[in-house]
Symmetry: C2
Subunit: 712 residues, 2 copies
């Protein structure tokens, strides 16, 4: 951790010298301040165009439209799951070997990748807050959920739209985000993992850096043709240079900058350590699992990547809170805020008790979180998740929309269905490993004498239970294959009562009748899992929402409206500049070049360049900028975000932050926190000279439509 010389800016408080801080919503962007600092003022039209050219990957990443034919740019690590799924389906290893579809017809559909384009934002604060006015603590979450489900359903008039009521400022404002939903996304081009993630875990979150962490996919419409879209980013001829103003439009997943000190200390002392212990253990487990063989390595790479990335990111967060100077600044901010509230009798009366209330709720949460995590977060297995989804979907679909668990409300169904019924391959060997481990951890958390643990394990060991469940379940089957009459050779209806499709379409009757062992397993403790969830919602979530609404109101009252909300995995815009920084007394330059990758090549994983790069070296312009660091304020979820200049041209592709930025969950330090992107020039250089992807280059340059390039 290199967070020593932190000079935290005002965080969410309006500070006199306006810093490059903030993950701003598009309807509250500080254009005037940007003009003051950088001489350019984004207009409403400019912001609208940027918003519409940005897309979100529903699973947790950002992306952008970069052609009129639905071509989308994102990170390799955002498409890893798709690439791994396609590898499994086609018995190839596209993560290792890379992928390029020579023509449109060669672009294969990603199982279960959904993209969302934000087309409209509507303020629904009054409606949401009115619904819960005077409602008791323990009914708060439930009441609000019902109102939100109603709003979302009214908005999502067809499966083409996805509507989410977004809680901003932790309850200070509620906006309805209406998205166009795309569920046919196909893989166009992906480089080899060895260059997309060059340096691997050791270089992850490090700078200087040399990664081509890019992938291109394409959105297809429901007509099966590439999406025609007027609004997309163009390509910058020059790319980003030192000092340039840069914007990043993407979906930061979450930040904790408005948590109270009681919550921060809970993060430092419990929440982060506990997650890190589990991630570490899983890391060791999967690392060794990979040695079972090449196929096991291939199908667990994605899991290992996720685990190592999360571990490093969360360890950085823990390190930030463990730094007394860093936490001290956050404590001082809270003291300042409290002082200002208490100095005003009206504010003191309305908001003076909020901090203590939140501290008390945090303690309540601590008392039930293990049980919540084990039973409702519960067992770690894709097949278990599918079983639970089927079981609950059957029950919930019979209820009025507003009374359902929120993931089963009408507006959420299209994504749920696409995930449940995707043809992504499932690896039973890995499933057994994950479930065994997870059952062991549940027993560890709750103790062998906990009644649900006894229901889960009976007289067996976790390993035996997991093996029996995974071997026995048929939920890995998407739909039973069509049968042929052995005599006539004609197709006959399959006797499909067991596949995911059959159980989902069969609804409650089919699920109730199911003797699938995994369904039976999920059924065995579903009542207890639902009970702890209800308890969490009534005793923690609802009361906390209520207090956080008050806290947000206090913050508006004290600091005004020109503040940005904590990140919520919704579209945000950040501004900044290409800029170096000081590290251990040395100057770190903001741009690296392609020859740096060759200098770092050792030949041994993760510092081995792929053969394609070694072969192409003589053709490459080694001075081409490769990666670039900027002061943009980003966080996990921003992966795949376009970095654009004031002309809305792509100058880079965000894929990381530096190690100093890992405390960014809690606070932003402009002197050291850096966003890290693939430079636009490196993308073109590689597509053209290494991957022979001329049709993509031309599409990016707007010279030819992709369909033209594909059909020639």
């Amino acid at each position: 951790m290199k967070l020593r010389t932190l000079a935290l800016s005002g965080l969410v408080l309006a500070s006199p010298a306006f810093a490059d801080e903030g993950m701003w919503t598009f309807n509250n962007f500080p254009s005037a301040e940007v003009k003051k600092k950088y001489g350019f003022e984004p207009t409403k039209e400019w912001l609208d165009q940027v918003r519409l050219a940005s897309v979100r990957i529903a699973g947790g990443c950002s992306a952008s439209l970069v052609s009129a034919d639905g071509l989308v740019m994102t990170n390799h690590h955002c498409a890893r799951t798709c690439i791994e799924n396609l590898s499994g389906l086609q018995k190839k290893d596209f993560n290792k070997d890379g992928f390029f579809a020579k023509t449109l017809a060669d672009e294969p559909k990603c199982p279960a990748m959904e993209m969302n384009q934000l087309v409209e934002i509507t303020d629904v604060t009054k409606r949401v807050q009115d619904a819960t006015k005077g409602v008791a603590d323990d009914k708060f979450a439930e009441t609000q959920k019902a109102e939100i489900a109603k709003i979302e359903k009214e908005c999502a008039t067809s499966d083409e739209f996805r509507c989410d009521v977004v809680t901003l400022y932790r309850g200070g404002r509620y906006d309805l985000y209406k998205y166009r939903r795309f569920q046919d996304v196909r893989l166009v081009m992906a480089p080899e993992d060895a260059i997309a993630f060059f340096g691997g875990d050791p270089d992850n979150f490090m700078f200087p850096r040399y990664d081509l962490d890019m992938t291109f996919v394409r959105i297809y419409g429901t007509d099966g043709k590439p999406l025609k879209n007027d609004t997309h980013f163009k390509w910058s001829a020059s790319g980003a240079k030192e000092g340039d103003l840069t914007f990043v439009s993407g979906n930061p997943g979450g930040t904790s900058r408005t948590l109270t000190v009681a919550q921060l200390e809970d993060d430092r002392d419990y929440r982060l350590p506990m997650r890190l212990f589990r991630l570490s253990e899983l890391r060791g487990l999967v690392t060794e699992y990979q040695l079972r063989g090449p196929e096991q390595k291939r199908h667990s790479n994605d899991t290992l990547f996720y685990v190592e990335n999360a571990f490093k990111a969360l360890k950085g967060r823990h390190g930030a809170l463990a730094d007394a100077a860093f936490l001290g600044k956050l404590k001082a901010n809270e003291e300042d805020f409290k002082k200002k509230v208490n100095a005003n009798p009206k504010l003191k009366k309305d908001f003076g008790k909020v901090w203590d209330e939140i501290a008390a709720i945090t303690k309540k949460n601590a008392a039930i979180r293990k049980e919540y995590g084990a039973l409702e977060g519960g067992p770690y297995s894709d097949l278990f998740s599918k079983a639970r989804t089927l079981l609950r979907s059957a029950e919930e679909s019979g209820k009025p929309n507003g009374e359902r668990l929120k993931e089963f409300t009408d507006s959420r169904l299209p994504q749920l269905k696409a995930q449940l019924l995707s043809n992504a391959p499932i690896y039973k060997e890995l499933e057994i490993t994950k479930l065994t481990w997870s059952l062991t951890k549940i027993r560890e958390d709750l103790g062998p004498d906990h009644p649900v643990v006894k229901k889960m394990l009976g007289l067996k060991s976790p390993a035996d239970v997991a093996k029996a469940l995974i071997d026995g379940t048929r939920l890995d089957v998407l739909a039973a294959p069509e049968q042929k009459d052995p005599k006539t050779g004609k197709p006959v209806p399959a006797n499909d009562t067991f596949s995911r499709t059959a159980l989902f379409t069969g609804g409650k009757a089919a699920v109730d009748a199911s003797k699938d062992p995994m369904i039976e397993f999920a059924r065995r403790f579903d009542a207890e899992a639902r009970a702890i969830r209800t308890r969490f919602e009534n005793e923690v979530e609802g009361p906390l929402k209520k207090q956080q609404e008050l806290l947000a109101k206090a913050r508006f009252a004290v600091y005004g409206e020109k503040i940005y909300p904590d990140a919520t995995f919704t579209l945000r815009l950040s501004f900044g500049a290409v800029k170096g920084y000081q590290e251990d007394g040395r100057e770190v330059k903001p741009l690296t070049t392609i020859d740096g990758a060759f200098a770092r090549h050792t030949g041994a994983d993760p510092f081995a360049l792929p053969k394609s790069w070694l072969d192409a070296k003589p053709k490459l312009n080694l001075e081409t900028p490769f990666n670039v660091a900027t002061t943009n304020d980003i966080i996990g979820g921003n992966s795949g975000s376009p970095m654009v200049n004031k002309d809305r041209e792509v100058v880079g592709l965000i894929f990381d932050g530096n190690i100093q930025s890992l405390g960014g969950d809690y606070g932003f330090d402009e002197s050291q926190n850096r966003a890290v992107a693939v430079h636009s020039a490196a993308i073109l250089e590689a597509l053209e000279k290494i991957y022979g992807a001329q049709r993509i280059v031309e599409e990016l340059k707007g010279k030819a439509t992709s369909s033209g390039a594909g059909s020639k």
Copy 2:
């Protein structure tokens, strides 16, 4: 963690109601206070006898002499390594199947097990403190080390004695402990792991409990015969009953009760989390490694046990410090102490700055600990450790005793030699796994660009480096086998320049000439490892010792001499009583019975009783007390300690503490912290009716000498 309702006693401060707190030294035992509370006053003679009947296992456990023929009782988990080593040598699995030597002649020697009997304690405080009077901070550690080496050498007149200068009260007092050293220890009896560790990791540190965590070994003299010893514990006819006064004599490994708050916060925020992350990862790795096959499972069981046990123990400690109420009490204690120091001008002048100084040193330590851990804590591999020992031993043995690294001083050599040249089997497959992992972690800690990381890895991956080193080294060979002349069939001298014995006895010339890849690897960065160690000693260890001496003096001045020092893995005596406690509003009884084990048996590991128990059930008295909880103040290192009554009779065998006791590193809470022991009655019942170990039963009862029993 169940540390919620903590009502910490006065800790090391003399509190008005004298608690069952303290790991007391034998020369400062509070006999009068024990009499006041329990009506029995241990005399000097009583204490001497208890001390002489107690023995320490040099590797990190406690034990006791329980017959006149050198029979020693300890925990199964303290002898695990011996049992696993013997299994490897004899191609058996004694951990799984248990072991019983029917006669003396069947007792096999444990590789590298050393036992120490404390025969004399001498106060050398003045001599040690005088040596460093006026010495500068950065020379303090070095100067003290030289004086201590001198004292120890004068005392250890032959290999039969081991002499350690023990730093008590973190520098408030220095005592010379003179031990009789025993290096021929043989295995007599061990039950199956399934009952020794019944409940496994889930039940570890839990109570109620049902473990027969016992093993019997025997000390043999240098004459190869069982040790004849007058002083040993006798067996209690009745065992411990609720309310009985109990003493535990053993070697608690270390406590942190006199750390300053700055050090405690460092523990909470860095030291404990970092260790826990690593232990978790290793746990996952070894858990999966065990699935490679039954042999791999067998030879890695000991590692997994160590890792899981350490994880659970340290997680408990972290949980204690993360508990604001617990830490708050420790903070209040420090405030009280500071206030008293500052209230007295003389004390203020002498000691007022100590806390700030210690905080500053703690920060310095933080800055170098990663490098220290990686380079001097070193790659995690037995073969690497042996290589480094050989390399350094060759260098150090040429230096004057006082200038050597402390592990190479004359008084330490017998143990070092026994470990280095033990015939314990080495499993190269496990070694590769450990070393690969460890090299990866070193790269993670220091970064791939660190000069030593480059020296370690060159252009290879950690896995390739580890495999080449472990496959290539011949340090697994203890001594080259004797050759025979193929013609005459007569023995000829082996061409042994490579074995550990050859390299050790060959000294510097042999080691310098060695081309063994592991020796070369260790040599490659030994200068850097020594340099960081020197830096640590000069900048952290020495200055800290100096301040801690002051702190100890301040504590004596404020609280008097009747206080106990932090644990130091030296012999201590604690007193207490058989007593239940409250947990989550329920009463936990202090005694369990054998039938509880049968009730807990599920048939699946770790809740599967061994066949011997199931078979013997009809013969057993199921009401026999099995495990017992007492208020004795113990901690890791106390494992294997005898629990005795006032007549110095064995009433139990300490093997664990309850989960509440895990915060005991930092503070003792008599209301909830419990020591957990195997009841003496259960030991006899099992030996007699399950294991048919009549010769041991008789020896314990003093009815026959072991040699008699064995030769019959």
